[in-house]
């Protein structure tokens, strides 16, 4: 199942995410990711019986309670909004994903007062959403997210903890962007394998 695959994968990147977050932030995004992953793995069995939208909202509520850091809370808001997105029930999986994730990205931008280029998760998420909206496969969306994350290494941080000493961050990817890219990568791999 997708949630489980992504959660299991994220937990393995704990130290890398901590290290990236430590470059300019407080070095705990890996811990947040691991906590979130554990929470989602506990939750996963109960999701099977729910409609897709409800399952997505449920994941968001779980993150809000169990992983309430900046990154975790923004993702929680994002998932809660995604689960309320207008999605044609007939739509193909990638089209549904595009609709959910557009709502997610808009919510992060609004709640985080962040714009593209601000060196945040958004810089990995938006390219993936746009790719899906153009009809790309999940594999292609994951590559777009990875490219977006890679590009953050050259960006000036202007929001979040990283904004406080811009210089130290340069040359390192934003931790939140990397996390998004990892999640897409795990999802793409799972979908391919499962297909």
């Amino acid at each position: 199942m997708l949630v489980e695959a992504v959660a299991r994968d994220l937990a393995t990147h704990r130290d890398e995410l901590n290290r990236l977050d430590g470059v300019a932030g407080d070095g705990d995004l890996g811990l947040t990711a691991a906590t979130a992953a554990a929470a989602l793995l506990e939750l996963a069995p109960s999701l099977d019986s729910m409609p897709e939208e409800e399952a997505i909202r449920r994941c968001g509520r779980e993150l809000a309670t169990r992983a309430p850091s900046t990154g975790g809370t923004l993702l929680a808001f994002a998932l809660m909004a995604a689960g309320k997105a207008e999605v044609g029930s007939e739509a193909r999986p990638t089209a549904r994903a595009a609709a959910y994730l557009r709502a997610a990205a808009d919510t992060i931008a609004a709640r985080g007062k962040a714009a593209p280029g601000d060196r945040t998760m958004l810089d990995a998420l938006l390219p993936a959403v746009e790719a899906l909206e153009r009809g790309a496969t999940l594999r292609e969306a994951a590559d777009a997210a990875a490219a977006g994350a890679a590009a953050t290494a050259a960006m000036e941080p202007t929001v979040g903890r990283a904004a406080w000493l811009a210089d130290r961050a340069r040359g390192h990817e934003d931790a939140g962007a990397r996390l998004i890219a990892m999640a897409f990568e795990a999802a793409a791999r799972e979908t391919t394998l499962g297909a």
């Binding site: 430590g22 705990d28 809000a64 992983a67 929001v159 904004a163």
Partner: protein, 331 residues
């Protein structure tokens, strides 16, 4: 990782168990990770709530008590508590006169406290918010509202808590605490990193012989890294930035907080204060009262910060008012 603990994943909950076990007459935990005064809610009194990540004792729950704050929501180390926890605290302390949230200006805390405030309003509780954003090193004056909150928040707790204890209305508490926040500046220096227990390795590297001026209390970047300087030079650099920022002027009366980040001995804090006192004297600024010790820590980080708050008669009275918690007592 030279730490006294059991399972790193249980760090926060075991610490809270220890605190409740140690101080049952003064503190209680009405819901998970929500710490309030044992006698909360205090009917008719404006209630003060705070909260944030663990690893900063006595921030946050160390200030829960008489004359200070009524409750605190406690997150994982360096991570925000959830809006649920904040709402639990809000309900447990609400005495019918409104609730003031006072916490540090960090993304996760703001997202969650704002949501909690909305939910509390739905439940008919009037909530107001004042952010600690005292770290002059974290942003230039034109972006002062994006500054981090660090040790100076102690003064906001003290002012808000004393005003509320004296029976002020929510509006009056907000007004005087906002004046305190506007008159408050802090800057610090780090001499070593610290290790989040669950991470197991230091958040960053700071080689021996180096210091980082302006570093945040979670290891966020400072304004410059360089060779470790003398106490007098450090005091000079911190005070120059602080004094120019408000600015503080000849004839001002101030409260001074010299705060240790965790591993720095009190001996060194007093050597630092000696330099601060001389510099303030040279500027013609009068020290009304000083607080020296560990008021907002960063686990076992070595280093210190200096906070100044410019005082008027009302603020002096509120700072001098008695207060008592298991971690702080002043009579």
């Amino acid at each position: 990782m030279q730490k006294i603990l059991n399972d790193p994943a249980a760090f926060v909950d075991e610490m809270l168990e220890g605190i409740i076990a140690a101080h049952p007459g003064q503190l209680r935990m009405p819901a998970a990770r929500a710490i309030v005064r044992a006698d909360a809610p205090v009917r008719g009194k404006v209630a003060i709530a705070t909260g944030g990540g663990s690893g900063h004792l006595p921030v946050f729950m160390g200030y829960v008590g008489r004359g200070l704050v009524d409750g605190a929501a406690i997150g994982n180390v360096f991570a925000s508590p959830s809006s649920d926890q904040m709402l639990d605290v809000t309900h447990a302390i609400d005495g019918g006169a409104g609730v003031l949230y006072v916490y540090g200006n960090y993304g996760g805390d703001r997202l969650n406290f704002d949501l909690a405030a909305e939910l509390a309003a739905d439940d008919g509780i009037e909530v107001r918010t004042i952010l600690g954003a005292d770290d002059v090193a974290s942003a230039p004056p034109e972006r002062a509202d994006s500054r981090r909150g660090i040790a100076g928040i102690f003064f906001l707790y003290k002012v808000a808590g004393a005003a509320a204890a004296a029976g002020a209305t929510l509006d009056a508490v907000v007004t005087v605490t906002q004046r305190a926040a506007a008159a408050l500046r802090t800057m610090g220096v780090a001499l070593s990193p610290c290790t989040i227990p669950a991470a197991g390795v230091p958040t960053f590297e700071l080689p021996a012989g180096q210091m980082e001026i302006g570093m945040g209390i979670h290891g966020e970047p400072g304004v410059r890294r360089g060779a470790l300087e003398s106490a007098d030079q450090i005091a000079g650099e911190l005070l120059t930035a602080i004094l120019a920022d408000l600015p503080y002027r000849r004839g001002d009366s101030v409260g001074v907080l010299v705060n240790g980040l965790g591993a720095t001995p009190k001996e060194e804090l007093y050597i630092l204060y000696r330099a601060v006192a001389r510099l303030l004297d040279g500027e013609g600024i009068a020290v009304h009262r000083v607080w020296i010790g560990e008021y907002a820590t960063s686990l076992e980080m070595a280093g210190a910060s200096v906070s100044l708050i410019r005082l008027d008669d009302e603020l002096r009275g509120l700072l001098d008012a008695p207060a008592e918690t298991p971690f702080f007592s002043q009579s």
